[in-house]
């Protein structure tokens, strides 16, 4: 593959910079890929730490969890039970409750958050907005707050008797609202908390994309007499498409795995009104010690995520003017770890 393949270079790796280049006076080549011009082993050496860590701390645990999903703890003995856990899942009303709740939050929260994100990004991108750097920051900082701090803070804010949210609403004659203790309002609380947490992050991604839309497009549209809405509809939105696909897919995955918010705010209640699939998995594994079943839920969830993501890619691709590569840039999603 390579003219340079001297034996000395075959051992070269990230630490081998001192190895003398024996073929220095090589004629310059202009190839598109830089893969010409390096030893075969180089990429593997760069990937070595990732591969080792991946095998040990990702692949093995996931395979082990899959095996676990085929077992059950019967009287203290781990027993192979085949697909029993998966069959049990199909007949488990609570699993469907969790799926339904997750779907509902998905359908309400993701569009709301993404729409707000677009509005914010357009505002951040507008010269009319004063103090843009500060505002960008203000909307982004919620993401720095970790699970525990977030839980402590929001439980205190949304407490239905002593919380400041009801206190403030009281001044304008609203409430008190039973935020975390009513099946309906608990869902709303989760939606509010998630929107608070992640909207700024999405706005920043849109902003980045917006800045790549050529200004001439807008100027031309203005000359043609297009109004603000028309420009938004015909230039901004299509221009945002790659970022939209990215955020839709990642937010969907994040929401389908939703765990943090119900975990810290409602514990899945009241009466399972905010039980998500992620919560149900956790409860079975870590409250009831039923790891086989919990793993089965995890793999069922993975299949659901894969199917939903594929559908989203398909939809976006069909409506796009030209096919969009699947290899999309990703977003800051600490959630998806």
């Amino acid at each position: 593959m390579n003219v340079l393949s001297s034996t000395a270079r075959a051992t070269a790796g990230p630490t081998a910079e001192a190895v003398p280049l024996d073929a220095a006076p090589r004629p310059p080549r202009r190839r598109r890929r830089s893969s010409i011009g390096h030893p075969r082993i180089t990429p593997y050496l760069f990937l070595l730490p990732t591969i080792v860590l991946f095998l040990g701390f990702k692949l093995y645990p996931y395979l082990s969890a899959f095996w676990t999903s085929l077992t059950s703890n019967i009287g203290g003995v781990i027993t192979f039970v085949g697909l029993d856990n998966y069959l049990r899942l199909l007949n488990d009303p609570l699993f469907y409750t969790a799926l339904g709740n997750t779907a509902l939050i998905l359908v309400v929260q993701v569009p709301l958050m993404l729409a707000l994100g677009i509005v914010l990004a357009v505002a951040f991108n507008s010269l009319l907005l004063k103090g843009r750097a500060f505002f960008r920051m203000a909307f982004f900082v919620p993401i720095v707050m970790g699970l525990v701090a977030y839980g402590i803070l929001f439980s205190a804010l949304f407490d239905s008797s002593a919380g400041i949210v009801n206190e403030l609403l009281g001044y304008v004659g609203i409430g008190p609202i039973p935020w975390l203790v009513d099946p309906f309002w608990a869902k709303i609380s989760i939606v509010i908390a998630m929107t608070w947490h992640y909207t700024g992050q999405n706005a920043i991604i849109y902003l980045a994309q917006l800045q790549s839309i050529p200004g001439e497009l807008y100027e031309a549209a203005q000359v043609d007499g297009a109004n603000g809405w028309q420009r938004f509809r015909n230039i901004t939105l299509p221009g945002l498409r790659p970022a939209l696909l990215l955020t839709v897919v990642l937010s969907t995955i994040g929401t389908l795995q939703l765990f943090d918010e119900p975990y810290v705010l409602t514990n899945g209640g009241p009466d399972n009104a905010t039980l998500t699939v992620g919560m149900y998995l956790y409860q079975n594994g870590f409250k009831y010690f039923d790891f086989g079943y919990a793993s089965a839920i995890g793999y069922a969830l993975t299949v659901i995520i894969a199917v939903v993501s594929l559908i989203q890619f398909r939809l976006f691709r069909e409506r796009a003017p030209k096919p969009i590569s699947l290899k999309k840039p990703t977003s800051p999603k600490e959630k998806t770890r």
């Binding site: 781990i78 839980g151 010690f289």
Partner: protein, 448 residues
């Protein structure tokens, strides 16, 4: 183990019971430590895992113990509750790795540990613990023992239910607390109290935002000699007793005499202090000490008596929880550990020191009968909480079978209770659904 007691953060609570668990799975593949320390010398160092107040109690027994065994060092570690469950479970999961020599275990975890991690707790009969059986209330003893009679824990704290009430509020409403014999009468009285004083009969976490919002139901059901499961582990939560309890809870709620307060330690204290008033407060025996310490300004306003029965002339005692001292098989110093446990809980000298140090209500009969133990308390208007608890223990309540599926049953019940209280569901139907769910999840049978 605890009654109306809740934790502030549900996140933490969930995790605690929980993570602990990482375990069951892992544990089974791990070899259990060999059990050859039985004949060891009484010497060296032992470590005890417990939490604040029970820790203080055990700490108080050390100097006297060291007079008997000068070579022994005892390290009492306040691990924190609920963090202790997580640590014990992960330790058991790791085949005993990192466990101490003595562990303070709650009654609600006992069954789970014994079933999920067979062989990880020492059968204390190896040390002759069976000779102590007659010294403890039989219910409390049985809950710490296996089906085959193996003794996995010695009762440390025994929680008979104290029925605490605000004597000033009852007086203001013109109701003689002593005339109330059943829960139905109590609910009628609650209506009067609400009318005359505006104070709810009791407060409940109606949305069950905390895991253990089931205390009242468990009490009323125990007063009818029933529980989530029967002795053979079949599901009884939707039986006549369970349904009747939930009907009582619904009746009180429908009458508008039940306040809604989210469960948390702070809200509990607010109730004790009268900041969020309640007319009654059924709770474990430990509550008496909490009241004296945390709400000293309410001295004279709280009274205590036996709980009313559900049926006229029925049971008026419920031993609703407690904790045990157990020794893991992984301990390298089991003999010494046992000698300490035996001294602290199996001798009058030890029991007295432990009780004075920590205030945990003991189950050891010679201690209960000892002079001055049931002396009247000024705080409770000259009543004696201890005398009440002794009277309850004397009723010889049956052992509650927590099984390894207590957590599931508890969750299913609290969901059912929430449906009844918030959406007006029918108690029978809600409990049937709950019982079916537990059966579906665990493969347990519904009792006939």
């Amino acid at each position: 183990m605890r009654f109306t007691l809740n934790k502030r953060s549900r996140g933490v609570a969930v995790t605690a019971t929980a993570i602990a668990a990482v375990a069951a799975l892992v544990g089974c593949s791990a070899p259990s430590a060999d059990n050859n320390a039985t004949d060891g010398e009484v010497s060296g160092k032992i470590t005890i895992w417990t939490w604040n107040a029970p820790g203080d109690g055990l700490e108080a027994a050390i100097p006297a113990f060291q007079k008997l065994y000068p070579d022994v060092e005892v390290d009492v570690q306040d691990v924190g509750n609920p963090a202790i469950w997580e640590k014990i479970t992960t330790g058991m999961a790791a085949g005993g790795q990192g466990l101490p020599d003595v562990m303070n275990i709650g009654i609600d975890y006992m069954g789970n540990y014994v079933e999920q991690f067979p062989g990880q707790l020492v059968d204390l009969r190896d040390f002759g613990a069976e000779s102590l059986e007659s010294e403890f209330p039989s219910g409390a003893w049985k809950s710490g023992s296996g089906a085959d009679g193996a003794v996995y824990g010695i009762p440390y704290e025994v929680n008979a239910t104290g029925f605490f009430y605000r004597s000033d509020i009852f007086e203001q409403a013109g109701i003689d607390i002593d005339s109330i014999e059943t829960w139905d009468q109590l609910i009628d009285a609650g209506v009067t109290i609400k009318e005359k004083t505006g104070v709810p009969l009791y407060n409940q976490d109606k949305a069950a935002t905390e895991a253990d919002s089931a205390g009242l139901w468990q009490l009323q059901t125990a007063l009818q000699d029933s529980f989530y499961f029967d002795e053979s582990g079949d599901i009884t939560m939707n039986g006549e007793a369970g349904v009747h309890s939930l009907e009582l809870i619904k009746k009180a709620n429908d009458l508008g005499i039940v306040g809604d307060i989210q469960g948390s330690w702070d809200n509990l204290l607010a109730q004790l202090r009268g900041e969020k008033p309640t007319a009654i407060m059924p709770a474990g025996g430990w509550m008496a000490g909490v009241m004296e310490n945390e709400a000293p300004e309410m001295a004279g306003n709280w009274g205590v008596r036996l709980p009313p029965s559900v049926e006229p002339g029925g049971i008026t005692a419920a031993v609703n929880g407690g904790t045990y001292l157990s020794i893991p098989t992984a301990s390298k110093n089991q003999k010494t550990a046992w000698e300490f446990v035996n001294f602290a809980l199996g001798t009058l000298e030890g029991q007295k020191l432990v009780y004075e140090g920590g205030g945990m209500f003991p189950g050891y009969k010679p201690m209960l009968e000892s002079e001055g133990f049931a002396a009247p308390s000024e705080y409770f208007n000259g009543q004696s909480p201890n005398a009440i608890f002794i009277a309850e223990l004397a009723q010889d309540t049956p052992a509650l079978n927590y099984t390894s599926d207590y957590a599931r049953a508890l969750k299913a019940y609290t969901d059912a209770q929430t449906r009844v209280l918030l959406s007006g569901a029918d108690p029978q139907q809600a409990l049937d659904e709950a019982a079916d769910q537990v059966a579906q999840q665990t493969g347990r049978k519904l009792a006939d």
